[in-house]
């Protein structure tokens, strides 16, 4: 492998990741249904839908939750093409590759055959359950990520009794991920600009190991600098976070509606 191919791949994927994150921020700024709901209420409602889609033993209940996720995406002004692409690009790569062999490998009653292989009734249902569940779960988490600013999601987690210490570490971690990604991109660009042609695999791996080592040392130094800056601003080791504003009627309406739907799906299933 030439140096540029794996350096390019890292640069390309890093850029795509930043673009995807910025695109999600732009969607979270739109005025849609889920954007209007308080993140605390949204988190509770979406987690309830996720729980139903994972708990149910009825395939059609999963399909029902998936259908609702599509309606919510449209109501939240998320492009259906983008939404479906985000979900269905993930599903074939990680799930269909696993689900398809299950059609043939799961023991049970013969449903049909392809070539010399037998598809079993149990295998077909097993594959359908897996694909439907994963697609629905990914859809729900995508709705959450696309319609909520990260710091508001942290506020919602705080309201759900996640310790303040964990919230403050997550807040800082999120910010510094971007600093470290930028640092990594600089390392890769410097490497790309200094190397012509292909290098042996051994040299490429040595470069990556050194890069990882240097980034770790920089991270630890940065942690020390951040700590000193925190002390300078009055940090005394105790983490205090501001309480959120009270829920509004739209938030209570959303929770009621979601739980009514969850109840109906459970009753049907």
């Amino acid at each position: 492998m030439s140096v540029n191919s794996f350096v390019d791949k890292n640069l390309r994927e890093g850029t795509a990741w930043i673009e995807r994150t910025l695109a999600a921020e732009a969607i979270a700024d739109k005025s849609g249904l889920l954007q209007a709901i308080d993140p605390r209420a949204k988190l509770v409602g979406l987690l309830a839908l996720l729980a139903v889609s994972l708990l149910t033993h009825d395939f059609w209940v999963i399909v029902g939750v998936y259908g609702e996720s599509l309606i919510l995406a449209v109501a939240s002004r998320i492009s259906l093409v983008l939404f479906l692409r985000r979900v269905w690009l993930f599903v074939p790569v990680f799930t269909a590759a696993i689900a398809v062999p299950a059609l043939f490998l799961t023991p049970g009653d013969r449903l049909t055959g392809i070539g010399g292989l037998t598809i079993t009734y149990q295998g077909a249902w097993g594959a359908a359950f897996l694909i439907a569940r994963v697609a629905t779960a990914v859809s729900i988490s995508t709705l959450l990520v696309l319609t909520t600013k990260w710091y508001r999601l942290l506020g919602a987690m705080r309201a759900l009794r996640v310790p303040a210490f964990v919230i403050s570490v997550l807040t800082m971690c999120y910010r510094y991920i971007f600093v470290l990604v930028r640092l990594l991109r600089e390392f890769l660009l410097v490497r790309k600009s200094r190397v012509i042609g292909a290098l042996p695999w051994r040299d490429n791996v040595r470069f990556l190991a050194r890069t990882a080592g240097i980034i770790l040392i920089r991270s630890l130094k940065l942690a020390e600098d951040v700590y000193l800056a925190m002390i300078a601003r009055g940090f005394d080791g105790q983490v205090k976070l501001a309480d959120g504003r009270p829920l509004r009627s739209i938030d209570y309406g959303w929770i009621t509606l979601t739980f009514a739907l969850v109840g109906a799906l459970i009753w049907k299933g």
Binding site: M1, S5, F6, K9, N10, E13, A51, L54, H57, F90, I98, A99, L105, T106, P107, G108, D109, Y121, Q122, G123, A124, W125, G126, A127, F129, L130, V134, A137, V138, S141, L144, V145, W150, L153, F165, V169, L170, C173, Y176, I177, L180, L184, W201, V205, L208, A209, R210, A212, G213, I215, L216, I217, S219, L222, A223, V226, Y227, F235, G237, V239
Partner: protein, 231 residues
């Protein structure tokens, strides 16, 4: 090795959260003692670093690339409890803020990649590098072997979590409700992939970073409280 939502039953996910919870609490106590007031920024940067390592595309001979986890590396440099917290928070950020990896599977993913991987990897590293100097050859060899064994043990545990699903959760007609493969299929499949690709990648990166830091920045190893206590 990131388990998405839908592969494990909610009962398995709940059990894995219950198993991980006391480990997180214990790690929190150890970390607060180790880093005192520096805990928040140190853990934040450590988690961000773990996140970055999981994003890295490492070249594999033959033209393709693979991702590393980095759990054994963090355990060697900062101690296994710091690795548990760093990996766990990175997995939470991935699942909750970027939609990568399951939200309900966070407990299982943290147990596999945050607990089994670094603790097994670190144990093997300590055994091989016992009483050796910082920067000694045995250090990076131990790190590489530890990382290889650690990731394969984590893969084995993940394979067991997958493999018990069809025995425990199926419809009345026998159709599997979650992961459709039994232990006889998941264990060979996971170990095959991890022993041939992910394991060597983890070993090469971990061994490479430990060799580099041992040569140029041996002081970093003293951040590990177990290394300090040995003098």
């Amino acid at each position: 090795m990131h388990i998405p939502d839908g592969y494990l039953s909610p009962a398995t996910c709940g059990t894995m959260y219950a198993i991980s919870l006391p480990l997180w609490v214990r790690a929190g106590v150890v970390i607060r003692k180790t880093f005192t007031q520096r805990t928040v920024p140190t853990l934040a940067l450590l988690s961000a670093f773990s996140f970055l390592i999981m994003m890295f595309n490492v070249p594999v001979p033959g033209g393709t690339t693979a991702h590393a986890v980095g759990g054994t590396l963090i355990a060697i440099l900062l101690g296994p409890w710091a690795a548990l917290i760093g990996e766990s928070l990175a997995l939470v950020v991935q699942a909750v803020f970027f939609g990568d990896g399951g939200i309900t599977a966070i407990g299982a993913n943290c147990f596999n990649m945050g607990f089994v991987l670094p603790f097994v990897g670190y144990f093997v590293y300590r055994v091989i590098s016992w009483r050796s100097q910082l920067g000694a050859r045995r250090r990076w060899i131990g790190a590489a072997i530890g990382a290889y064994v650690g990731i394969n043990m984590a893969a084995l545990v993940a394979a067991i979590e997958f493999g018990i699903q069809p025995y425990l959760f199926h419809t009345a007609t026998g159709a599997p409700l979650y992961c459709p493969y039994g232990l006889t299929q998941t264990i060979p499949a996971m170990l095959f992939a991890h022993s041939l690709i992910a394991g060597p990648v983890e070993a090469v990166i971990t061994g490479g970073v430990v060799a580099f830091l041992g040569k140029y920045h041996p002081e970093v190893f003293k951040l590990n409280p177990y290394e300090r206590s040995e003098g």
